[in-house]
């Protein structure tokens, strides 16, 4: 196993010290109070960072004429004068209007994403167990090969893969998209889950094996329950990746299977001036990742910290 460790350019990205003692925390609190300038500046920058998003969000609630005639920042003055008008009209148009029909693409995004998260996570989980705890010939070599595949840019694989799907008659189906996303996710997923799996004490696994449990039993009874946080971390990572993906969906899909990203990008090209529809469309495509992100940020960050370890 040592060869793998040596060839793995995996720095330990240190995690935040979670177990700081009480005295530590008090000291930090004092430091925090002692530098109000840095705090103020940090908050101001954070707000500046968010302004472009806020601008589009406000726009998405404004009537079409207002959007064409004046900047979104004028709503604050209008609101003070009691003139501001907000409505969900744009969202209605974007979701159900005949020329945009984002509701359909919303369904597509779900249908594309869920299997494209579930399949690679499961396959990678089994593979990670195999690489971590089953001692078979060629294991180290194969693991390094899987790890090394992370560097392959997906662009280099897309066209021949599409040709293969055409030959098989599955091009433009959800199956083609699910399989593509699954293959692309595997190197990172296997590597990450393998690292988490190696953190499980070997004595635990060996004890279960001594008791006569087969590998399948060990996998389900010992390893899987301990791996839930890692699964959550990678699952969210993959969910955001697939939901936000444009390239694979565009090349492997057809209008029947296009997710929101493809449709919204299309709108940006064909109706680039219709900001009332475009702004609402953009937020319709962002709402799910934002909810996932805001509610599960902790796991996402953990996945990111582990994921950036890739070479």
């Amino acid at each position: 196993m040592s060869t793998v460790e040596a060839a793995t350019p995996a720095p330990e990205v240190p995690r935040p010290a979670r177990s700081s003692s009480m005295g530590d925390r008090a000291r930090k609190a004092r430091k925090a109070l002692s530098n109000p300038w840095a705090s103020t500046l940090a908050v101001v920058i954070a707000i500046l960072w968010t302004i472009p998003t806020i601008g589009l969000l406000i726009t998405s609630f404004r009537p079409e004429l207002d959007v064409r005639r004046s900047g979104w920042w004028t709503v604050f003055g209008d609101a003070l004068a009691g003139e501001g008008v907000f409505s969900l009209r744009n969202y209605e148009t974007a979701l159900f209007g005949g020329s945009t029909d984002l509701a359909t693409y919303f369904v597509n995004s779900f249908v594309v994403t869920l299997p494209a998260v579930f399949i690679p996570v499961t396959v990678a989980l089994l593979a990670a167990y195999g690489f971590a705890w089953v001692d078979f010939k060629g294991r180290d070599f194969l693991f390094i090969a899987v790890f090394a595949l992370q560097i392959v840019p997906i662009q280099i694989t897309l066209v021949p893969l599409l040709t293969a799907y055409v030959d098989l008659g599955v091009n433009g189906t959800f199956w083609a998209i699910w399989l593509s996303h699954s293959a692309f996710a595997l190197p990172l997923a296997t590597f990450l889950l393998h690292n988490f799996m190696k953190d499980i004490p070997a004595s635990l696994v060996e004890a279960a094996r001594m008791d006569g449990a087969g590998h399948v039993q060990v996998f389900f009874r010992v390893v899987l329950p301990l791996l839930t946080p890692a699964l959550a971390a990678f699952g969210i990572f993959q969910f955001l990746w697939v939901w936000n993906d444009l390239l694979v969906a565009l090349i492997m899909g057809k209008p029947d299977t296009f997710p929101l990203t493809v449709r919204v990008a299309e709108l940006a090209g064909s109706r680039g001036g219709d900001w009332h529809v475009l702004s609402a469309g953009a937020f319709i495509s962002m709402i799910v990742p934002l909810i996932v992100f805001l509610s599960l940020q902790r796991y996402f960050v953990r996945g990111l910290l582990a994921g950036s370890v890739k070479g």
Binding site: V43, G71, F110, V123, K137, V146, T157, L240, L304
Partner: protein, 328 residues
């Protein structure tokens, strides 16, 4: 069979198909595990490949084989019917149209990762131990959650242009007008447009850099900082002489990871300008050559170039990591 392949535009059918897809997959995995568990004393290779086989097969068919095919196709003509040697590469490196694309890509790889990493680092340092740290970091990190398409639309709106004399609706032009200037068509003028498109990428990636670097800044042992402070190091001296050297390995990882993301990013340029006005980059040109110009050979050559450019970045990363391992 047709029911399984094509759902048409019936949402109920699509959702059902999704459940069928997942169920079929679960059944497949169940069968594999059942077979692996079956023998009393299975040989090790049998168990090993039982667990890893599905992944290896998927990788072989979904990554290795297509990548090799692309490399082969890059030496073939536009229909992949005849061998033409290095012609596609020669074209990519001589025709002005592609030289511009390569130049833009080089600019992206040199500028975007460094600015994004530095912005993330500066912010991580600033926000460390400040009040509202969690909230401020959350806001800067938020762009990571949304799609690059969404981010591009957000920024396209910031750069929106209306002729002088009419009320501006884009924030940047409004600022210029407030300051007494003429509104600009930002996305049309080269080379400014490439930098303005990069801003979108940096806006997204700075949050990533910040999150990782913030974690490593927090992991610097307190006694090192205390010792430096007793020696009279403070302010910027602390930043350059203590913080930077302590988090060097993480800096390298962040920089190279963002550099690799930069190379592969195609969504932003496509959504902002569709590669027009001299903004195209290799990751987008690869797509345009194949799906708009119909030149499979040139498209393949560009995809291979993308891979080739990644390699030095990775070698740098590996060497830096080896160095820091030795120091440790």
């Amino acid at each position: 069979m047709d029911w399984l392949l094509h759902a048409g535009d019936d949402p109920g059918h699509k959702l059902l198909l999704m459940l069928v897809g997942i169920a079929l997959f679960v059944a497949l995995m169940g069968i594999i595990l059942f077979v692996v568990d079956r023998p009393r004393n299975p040989p090790r290779w049998f168990v090993g490949f039982g667990f890893t086989g599905a992944a290896l097969l998927l990788l072989l068919l979904g990554l290795v084989y297509p990548a090799v095919r692309t490399i082969v196709n890059s030496f073939m003509n536009r229909n992949s019917t005849g061998f033409i040697g290095l012609d596609n590469y020669v074209r990519a490196f001589t025709e002005p149209q592609f030289l511009l694309v390569l130049g833009n890509t080089a600019l992206w790889v040199l500028v975007a990762p460094i600015v994004a990493t530095f912005a993330g680092l500066a912010y991580a340092y600033l926000v460390d131990k400040s009040r509202f740290e969690a909230l401020a970091k959350g806001l800067v990190f938020l762009p990571m959650a949304i799609s690059m398409v969404g981010a591009s639309i957000i920024w396209k709106f910031v750069y929106e242009f209306k002729p002088a004399g009419v009320d501006q609706t884009g924030l940047l032009n409004q600022f210029i007008v407030w300051l007494g200037g003429e509104p600009q068509q930002f996305l049309l003028s080269r080379p400014l447009n490439t930098f303005l498109i990069m801003v979108v990428f940096i806006w997204i990636q700075a949050g990533f850099a910040m999150t990782l670097l913030s974690a490593s800044i927090k992991a610097i042992p307190d006694d090192i900082i205390e010792a430096a402070r007793l020696d009279g190091v403070s302010g910027l001296g602390m930043f350059w002489r203590i913080t930077i050297p302590s988090i060097r390995p993480a800096l390298v990882v962040v920089l190279t990871t963002i550099a690799m993301t930069t190379l592969k990013t195609f969504d932003i340029v496509r959504t902002m300008t569709a590669g027009q006005y001299g903004t195209s980059i290799v990751a987008l040109e690869f797509y345009d050559q194949r799906f708009r110009q119909g030149d499979a050979g040139l498209s393949a050559a560009l995809a291979v170039l993308l891979f080739v450019i990644v390699i030095p970045v990775i070698i740098y990363n590996v060497r830096q990591q080896r160095l820091s391992e030795e120091v440790r």
